[in-house]
């Protein structure tokens, strides 16, 4: 029993790294633009299909696809922002939220039209390899994915904290007009923030494909997970996203080991509602 829980704990930490990365993307978008991107999960699904087909057709290793899926989703995010969301800047935030709902509906069902609702599984040659950590046997892919997610997170945090670009985005997030007066291109900063947030799910999507099934609705699962993590870790707090990711990963995986059937999904939503309801309202209210 203890080894079972230990195994679940390790799996939870490894999964938490991915949740952290996805939530970081959502958090960047929310922190800068005040928009909750309801299409976040659907965009991750895009990254997963891209990775799946790159492997299937060209034999490109899924971990190598991170370098493709990340930039592709970066560009996609930039286009979504420029054509759909930027024209609505300054209007009711709920409308922008509805646009992302429409986008999620569109992308999810477009995937269904193009690829059918079938579940697909990508099987790299090393897919079955395991590594022993203490009493637990952990699939190699989980570890690689965890490392990839951490690396991507580190790069993003570096961009945000240390580069001129990151500073300008943060400046716009804090004080839009002030930043504009200092010569910062506000529109560009917003676009980059949305694009970077989208790149996160592109990378995360590629990184989970070696061990996670791909289907048009797979994004729903990660959508909710990322909302949970963001609210859990605190809106706008990037370190919080990582911590929240770990907490959720561990809870879900230990819960799955202890609870029967697929009750872990119920658990996930229960955590989400619990966090939403019992978190002080101050943390929830948007800045506006």
């Amino acid at each position: 029993m203890t080894s079972l829980i230990f195994e679940a704990l390790v799996a939870g930490v490894l999964l938490g790294g991915v949740y952290g990365l996805i939530a970081l993307g959502l958090n960047i978008i929310y922190g800068v633009l005040d928009i909750i991107n309801f299409a976040h999960g659907a965009m991750m699904m895009m990254g997963m299909y891209l990775t799946f087909w790159l492997f299937q057709v060209y034999g490109i290793d899924p971990y190598l696809s991170i370098l493709i899926a990340g930039p592709v989703m970066f560009v996609f995010g930039a286009l979504v922002y420029l054509f759909l969301l930027d024209p609505m800047r300054g209007k009711a935030l709920q409308n922008q939220f509805l646009v992302t709902l429409g986008l999620s509906l569109f992308i999810t069902n477009a995937a269904q039209v193009l690829f059918s609702p079938d579940f697909r599984v990508l099987q790299p040659s090393y897919g079955q390899d395991v590594i022993q950590i203490g009493p637990a046997f952990v699939p190699l892919t989980r570890i690689l994915t965890f490392v990839a997610a951490l690396a991507a997170t580190a790069v993003l945090l570096f961009i945000f904290q240390r580069t001129r670009l990151g500073r300008s985005i943060r400046a716009v997030a804090q004080q839009q007009e002030g930043a504009a007066l200092c010569g910062i291109n506000v529109r560009l900063a917003y676009t980059l923030a949305f694009a970077l947030g989208s790149a996160c799910v592109g990378i995360a999507g590629a990184a989970v494909t070696p061990f996670f099934y791909v289907s048009p609705t797979v994004g729903d699962l990660f959508n909710i997970a990322s909302f949970v993590v963001v609210v859990l870790g605190g809106l706008g707090s990037m370190a919080g996203s990582l911590l929240g990711g770990l907490v959720l990963g561990i809870t879900v995986s230990v819960g799955a080991a202890l609870l029967p059937g697929s009750f872990k999904e119920v658990l996930m939503f229960a955590i989400f509602l619990g966090v939403l309801l019992f978190r002080p309202t101050g943390l929830l209210g948007s800045k506006a």
Partner: protein, 339 residues
């Protein structure tokens, strides 16, 4: 945080009088006489859409509290009625009422929890989404409770008794068409009543600015909970009818985001917070979905893909909805002729 509805959208429809609604009712009531089975089927979908839209609109449009999870009430209504019928022999006519009441009670609990916690806008929408998804996950996992078969992910087969009006079982689709039409008339009457009542005025005040409404002495919390209860009641009632039409329910369908979003979609496209917006929205969206089905047979997901695109286009270009657009055009023309 003003929602989609444009001010003044209500006045215009009242201005055009009761002619259009009566015309709609006459056409809708006479349609099945001339229609074949396919058209009747589409008519049922259309009425269901319009009804879901109007029910959603009470909370999402009038009170401005957008919900992404109304399927929770739809599914509850369907399950309560079906379980009562199967296990206790309660006629679905009564089961529908009980299902609606259970949905309303559940709505009140959810409303108290979420609104007490101060959830607004995005957060309320997301919380509702999670509520519906959680119920779906729960029912998928419930095979049997205390000897009563819930069915789990396989769902529930409802007994077929041959045409029996007392049990709401009909061989033909026609009676269901009229049941849904009657229900739509009821919900429209209620919405119309809300629109001219003091309660409706409070709801609009809450939608436009909660804090200002509170400051003016409106019981914001009470209004929102009441709006949720009414909205959930009507949504739950139609869930029960859904079960009777198809004699089969499963959690993956009745709690699915599809039923949450269809109501929202009709209301937003037609005009959130207007009496006739959701009906107009359904009149536009249903043919759109059918056309896509006729031209591209057997491609699942295409209709929802189109709905996604329609939602984006409307929120982006016509956030006030069709009714709002109509009133604005009327107002502009009147203004133009005067000058």
């Amino acid at each position: 945080m003003t929602a989609l509805a444009a001010n003044g959208a209500r006045a215009g429809i009242r201005g055009s009088g009761a002619i259009l609604p009566v015309l709609f009712l006459v056409v809708a009531a006479a349609a099945p006489i001339f229609a074949n089975g396919y058209v009747l089927e589409v008519g049922i979908v259309l009425l269901m859409f319009a009804y879901l839209g109007s029910s959603w609109n009470i909370l999402g449009g009038w009170a401005g509290q957008m919900s992404f999870g109304h399927a929770a009430f739809f599914g509850l209504g369907a399950y309560v009625s079906a379980l009562l019928w199967i296990n206790a022999g309660v006629s679905p006519w009564i089961g529908m009422l009980i299902g609606a009441l259970v949905a309303a009670a559940f709505g009140v609990v959810v409303a108290i929890a979420t609104f007490r916690a101060g959830l607004r806008g995005h957060y309320f929408a997301l919380a509702m989404f999670a509520v519906a998804q959680m119920l779906m996950a729960l029912f998928v996992n419930l095979k049997e409770v205390a000897g009563i078969t819930i069915g789990g992910s396989e769902g529930l087969q409802l007994p077929y008794t041959g045409t029996d009006p007392g049990q709401m079982v009909f061989d033909s689709r026609m009676p269901f068409y009229y049941i849904l039409l009657a229900m739509l008339v009821v919900v429209q009457a209620v919405v119309k009543f809300i629109s001219i009542s003091r309660f409706g005025a409070y709801l609009q005040a809450v939608r436009n600015d909660e804090d200002a409404a509170e400051a003016l002495g409106v019981n914001v919390f009470g209004c929102k909970v009441a709006a949720m209860a009414v909205s959930a009641f009507f949504t739950g009632a139609v869930g029960a009818v859904y079960g009777q039409i198809y004699l089969y329910i499963e959690p993956g369908i009745v709690f699915s985001a599809t039923y949450s979003i269809q109501g929202l979609l009709c209301a937003v496209v037609g005009g959130a917070g207007t009496v006739w917006g959701p009906v107009l929205g359904a009149l536009v969206l249903t043919p759109l979905a059918e056309v896509s089905k006729v031209f591209f047979r057997d491609i699942s997901g295409l209709d929802l893909m189109i709905f996604g695109a329609v939602l984006i286009v409307f929120v982006r270009f016509i956030p006030q909805g069709l009714v709002g657009l109509w009133t604005e055009t009327l107002a502009r023309r009147r203004g133009g002729s005067r000058s």
